[in-house]
């Protein structure tokens, strides 16, 4: 299998019917249907997973690791790093200790909670919020699709991104150090596999943003492990030592859970791509300069609504809330001091600049691009304005822009094509009618 992909979804050309459902639901207009198959413009894709979610033919596939023992055997010691989403997938409240123990028994040497990272990042973010070193508002980095969205659509907001790594990376970093010490193993012989509902996180492992190398080695989707874990939960004992994370940290996967754990004085929360776009559009206009913290989730309901989940996100939300109430309300003072010390030592920071990738302008030369904009307006006048996407572009405007760029033709529009055929048919007819030999023989049509 080719692993040199830039983004974490692919199309099964056999299954794809070219229906344009994904085209219309893509927040960055990154998909076009060409020759009957959906194709992605890679530099625009933010890995939000909307296409996977909306494809009625399941032709859009997330690329994750299969749970083959081969991949696990590459490492001397393997750890399953479990998203808190996993705890709310089984339609009833099951203690995390049982679920984590069940995952461990699938063939891992150890399990660790992503939520431990959330506990750590909560402490660090709280310190950051109080340090006033950052520009208001601070935008959370926990959702990798949001980071990419900001790179592509809102480059001016990059300076507002929290400088701190997301919980998933911190958790992996902490567990690698812990096990390396405990088992006396070199860090690179420990394989950390993320059990996740998230396409963007799976992609960020291979193509990390803001860090040189991800601390995670592979990703396995929640869907893929669901049946195996489900068959084990009734017989697996509850190992409480595996589940040390606090309630608020487990709540991070729920939209609003992050700010509930952090409790900043002034904050806004948005989930679902269309809502996030509205919110960031306003933030870009500096309407939230008095807000301390912005929590954004690409998926509706937060990570609980991730594309690779089993449970309906509304049920999962209730289960998550109930679970959070059964867990400790905070971590110990000792742990807090430990994380604070790490924060002050720079442990939590991204080590690479997060660069802007603005949406493609029409041309790299501004003067030329200006000419093309006028051309786009001219082309738009010829298009019906129905945004039907039959041409393979998300809207008439997008088609006009593609035509101006030279990557589409005016007759890709079915209405323009029909008009062209009608006009040429009429022209042909009038030419035939003008022919005196036909009319002389009394064979003139239409009369």
């Amino acid at each position: 299998m080719n692993r040199n992909y830039l983004f974490s979804n692919t199309v099964d050309a056999q299954k794809c019917k070219g229906c344009t459902n994904c085209v219309k639901n893509c927040p960055t207009e990154a998909i076009r249907v060409k020759k009957g198959t959906a194709t992605t413009i890679e530099e625009r894709c933010i890995n939000c997973g909307n296409c996977i979610r909306t494809c009625p033919y399941h032709a859009k596939i997330a690329i994750t690791d299969p749970l083959d023992l081969e991949r696990l055997r590459e490492f001397k010691y393997t750890v399953a790093l479990c998203s808190s989403v996993l705890y709310s997938q089984f339609h009833r409240l099951i203690p995390p200790g049982i679920i984590l123990n069940a995952v461990k028994s699938l063939g891992f040497d150890d399990v660790y909670q992503e939520a431990v990272g959330a506990d750590a990042v909560s402490v660090a973010t709280w310190e950051l919020l109080n340090s006033k070193e950052n520009k208001k508002p601070i935008i959370s980095t926990s959702c990798p699709a949001i980071i990419k969205l900001i790179q592509v659509r809102f480059p001016t907001l990059l300076e507002n991104l929290s400088p701190l790594l997301p919980p998933v990376e911190i958790a992996a970093k902490l567990v690698r150090e812990k096990i390396s010490k405990k088992q006396n193993l070199p860090p690179d012989e420990i394989g950390i596999f993320l059990i996740t509902p998230c396409v963007a996180k799976a992609s960020a492992i291979k193509h990390p943003v803001g860090i040189t190398k991800s601390n995670i080695d592979g990703a396995i989707s929640v869907i893929r492990l669901y049946n195996q874990i489900h068959s084990l939960v009734s017989t697996t004992p509850d190992d409480k030592s595996l589940a040390s994370a606090s309630g608020p940290a487990v709540g991070w996967v729920r939209s609003g859970g992050e700010t509930a754990a952090l409790n900043p004085p002034n904050y806004v929360v948005a989930d679902g791509m269309s809502n996030v776009l509205k919110l960031l559009e306003e933030a870009d206009m500096r309407h939230f300069d008095d807000v301390d913290y912005i929590e954004c989730h690409s998926c509706h309901g937060g990570c609980l609504g991730g594309p690779l989940t089993i449970e309906n996100s509304f049920v999962a939300r209730i289960l998550n809330r109930k679970l959070v109430r059964t867990l400790p309300a905070a971590i110990t003072e000792k742990e807090k001091t430990f994380y604070k010390k790490h924060y002050l030592e720079g442990y939590f920071y991204f080590d690479k600049e997060i660069k802007a990738h603005p949406m493609m302008p029409l041309d790299h030369d501004i003067a030329k691009a200006i000419q093309l904009v006028s051309k786009v307006d001219e082309i738009l006048k010829d298009l019906p304005g129905l945004d039907c996407a039959s041409c393979g572009c998300p809207s008439c405007r997008a088609l006009a822009e593609d035509i101006a760029r030279g990557s589409a033709a005016l007759t890709d529009c079915i209405f323009v094509l029909l008009r062209t055929i009608r006009d040429s048919a009429q022209e042909t007819m009038s030419l035939i009618q003008k022919d005196h030999r036909i009319s002389k023989n009394g064979k003139e049509p239409n009369k």
């Binding site: 480059p155 001016t156 559009e281 870009d284 206009m285 500096r286 802007a356 603005p358 949406m359 302008p361 029409l362 041309d363 790299h364 030369d365 501004i366 003067a367 030329k368 691009a369 200006i370 000419q371 093309l372 904009v373 006028s374 786009v376 822009e401």
Partner: protein
């Protein structure tokens, strides 16, 4: 690619003229004109910082017409060197321009302020974003705002 010198190219490219009619108190459509202008600037490929300045200035100018002006239009003239925004309305006009430029000074009615608009930051925000700003206003007749943002 043709090999025209930069000078020649500048003379052949025509300015882009965008014009949008703005209706007073039409809060449903408010923000559409400035959002279109922003999208056009992104297509042209101005730097994100320039786009942000122009988008904020256009938005505030548009909202001023919606809140205070009875009828008007927002115009954008775009060329590689600069972005010019013109907001013209037949609203009440500004009594005291210096006072109107003060942060927090607002003459918006209460119901507009309850909706989160009219915080008295419109003109000061425009001034912060603009390289040049001229206000031509006569009481009872209307206001013409001319904003220039240079591309450097």
């Amino acid at each position: 690619m043709d090999k025209k010198g930069p000078k020649e190219q500048l003379t052949t490219s025509k300015d882009i003229n965008l014009q949008y009619a703005i209706k007073g108190l039409d809060l449903l459509a408010a923000g559409e004109a400035s959002s279109n202008i922003k999208h056009t600037l992104q297509l042209i490929g101005f730097s994100p910082a320039i786009i942000r300045k122009a988008a904020i200035a256009a938005y505030e100018a548009e909202m001023n017409i919606v809140i205070h002006g009875r009828q008007g239009f927002l115009k954008a003239v775009i060329n590689p060197k600069r972005i010019e925004l013109i907001a013209e309305d037949t609203g009440p006009g500004i009594h005291d321009i210096d006072l109107a430029m003060t942060e927090g000074y607002s003459t918006a009615p209460d119901y507009i302020r309850e909706m989160g608009f009219g915080a008295g930051m419109g003109l000061p925000n425009i001034k912060n974003c603009a390289d040049e700003l001229t206000i031509d206003s006569s009481v009872g007749k209307g206001t013409i705002l001319r904003i220039i943002i240079n591309n450097y």
